[in-house]
């Protein structure tokens, strides 16, 4: 079980032209863990996620071990506008029970009433829930989240955080979320990786007991430390606070 759920990357280097985006990167993810990948823009975090999703075939693929079922949620919902919500969730699912499975997944993300809706009629948060259902219905061993809440308003984002944690607890996929939001990383993950110039600059376990809140003592300290790792100076943090 644990062998086929293993996620490991050894010595991954990605170059685009003369630009080296990932530098001999090593990464192991514990089965069922929730890891956040933080980094400034251009740090290579999206490249790493796309490589794991199989979207940018890597020459160094030899060093990558992935479970057989990988699913992703992107920053935009990327629903096919010409398919009803259930058909979007069931996209590419084999078997006659695909629709029933899709409807179950939609129920889990709180969209039971929207099976037959067209994507264009959903709000941003609802569309992202549908995208989450589309990933979950595949029972992924590895769930990749690429800044999935960046485009949502603050209130919707809070609800989505709770939903993702709930679903992660229920299904326990190994989860990797790419984000530039330090609070989001500390709130969701057991482990935070900071990527800088294609290298993992920090690998920090998050030991704050759940449910976490922004006011927890450990939260504030960890947040400050991560911001420091990202190069945001302490006086800037004080100023903002």
């Amino acid at each position: 079980m644990s062998e086929e759920r293993k996620v490991s990357v050894r010595g991954l280097t990605r170059r685009f032209g003369s630009n080296t985006v990932l530098h001999n990167l090593n990464l192991e993810l514990e089965p069922g863990s929730f890891t956040a990948l933080l980094g400034r823009s251009g740090s290579g975090k999206t490249t790493l996620l796309r490589t794991l999703a199989g979207l940018d075939p890597a020459p160094g693929d030899a060093g990558i071990d992935l479970p057989d079922r990988v699913a992703a949620v992107f920053q935009e919902p990327r629903l096919l506008p010409w398919k009803r919500i259930w058909a979007n969730v069931a996209l590419g699912l084999p078997g006659a029970d695909a629709k029933a499975r899709a409807e179950r997944a939609l129920g889990e993300v709180g969209l039971s009433r929207h099976h037959e809706a067209w994507p264009a009629t959903l709000s941003g948060g609802e569309a992202q829930r549908a995208a989450l259902a589309r990933a979950l219905v595949r029972e992924p061993r590895l769930l990749l989240l690429d800044e999935p809440f960046a485009a949502l308003d603050a209130l919707t984002r809070i609800r989505m955080h709770a939903l993702v944690l709930e679903l992660w607890r229920a299904h326990r996929p190994t989860t990797l979320i790419v984000t530039h939001d330090v609070d989001e990383a500390v709130l969701l993950a057991d482990r935070v990786l900071v990527l800088d110039a294609g290298r993992i600059a920090a690998d920090i376990p998050v030991e704050i007991p759940r449910p976490r809140s922004h006011g927890d003592a450990g939260f504030v300290a960890l947040r400050r430390r991560l911001l420091g790792e990202l190069g945001v100076e302490a006086d800037v943090i004080r100023e903002a606070a």
Binding site: A53, L55, E76, W118, A120
Partner: protein, 282 residues
Amino acid sequence: MSDTHAIGGRRAAVPALPAPAARRPAGLALNLSRTKRFASSVVILLLWQGASVAGLIAPRTLAAPTTIVATAWELILSGELPHHLLVSLGRVAAGLSIGVSSGVALALIAGLSRRGEEIVDAPMQMLRTLPFLALVPLFILWFGIGETPKIALVSLGSAFPVYLTLFAGIRGTDPKLMEAGRVFGLNRAGLIRHVVLPGALPSGLVGLRYALGSALLSLVIAEQINATAGIGFLINDARDFLRTDVIVVGLLVYALLGLGADALVRGFERRALAWRPNLIKG
């Protein structure tokens, strides 16, 4: 318009009574403005009729509206108009099915593979700059003066709009949707079926509408080539007898064909593109 919509939407939560009352004046205003739009046309018709009756417009220049209506009625009753209409429709149907299917096939070849594009697109882009109606003399030499050159001209006229729009639609597929499809396990055939083709359909249908217009234009020209039946023949025949009333009836039939074709595609769009935001609200 969008403002009234928002207000109407807000009110729907409250008991629905005020909504119909609020809508009625808008409907009335619409009818009124529609009446106004037609008013000038009616005045022109009346002036035309008056001038014809007064002898200011000779029948050999232009028949009176009432004469045209009477002639149309006669032509329908005698079976002459239905006969010619069927012949013309048959030409359009044959030409369109050849033109549209070859346009679609070429667009798929060029749109879905690089090599296909290399082979198909350059000649198509060169040929499309040619005003296809100028090919009539060549077509007569190649195909004679029977049905073949007529159908060929309609085919040619309808193939290009379909090819160009569908090719652009296929190439305009959102790469982000393609990626999503790949992540969720679609193979190449699945991507084409679920992502590329449905995404290209809206522009393909715009092309179909252009194609219908172009086919009709081709029909008009084609039916000038030694036709012995069809609306074009009806018009040419009437010209020889100075029957301006019959000519106008023929022109009206051409216009109605154009309107009908457009309505047909619009109806199909409404069903096939029901997912589009502007159609969902309607």
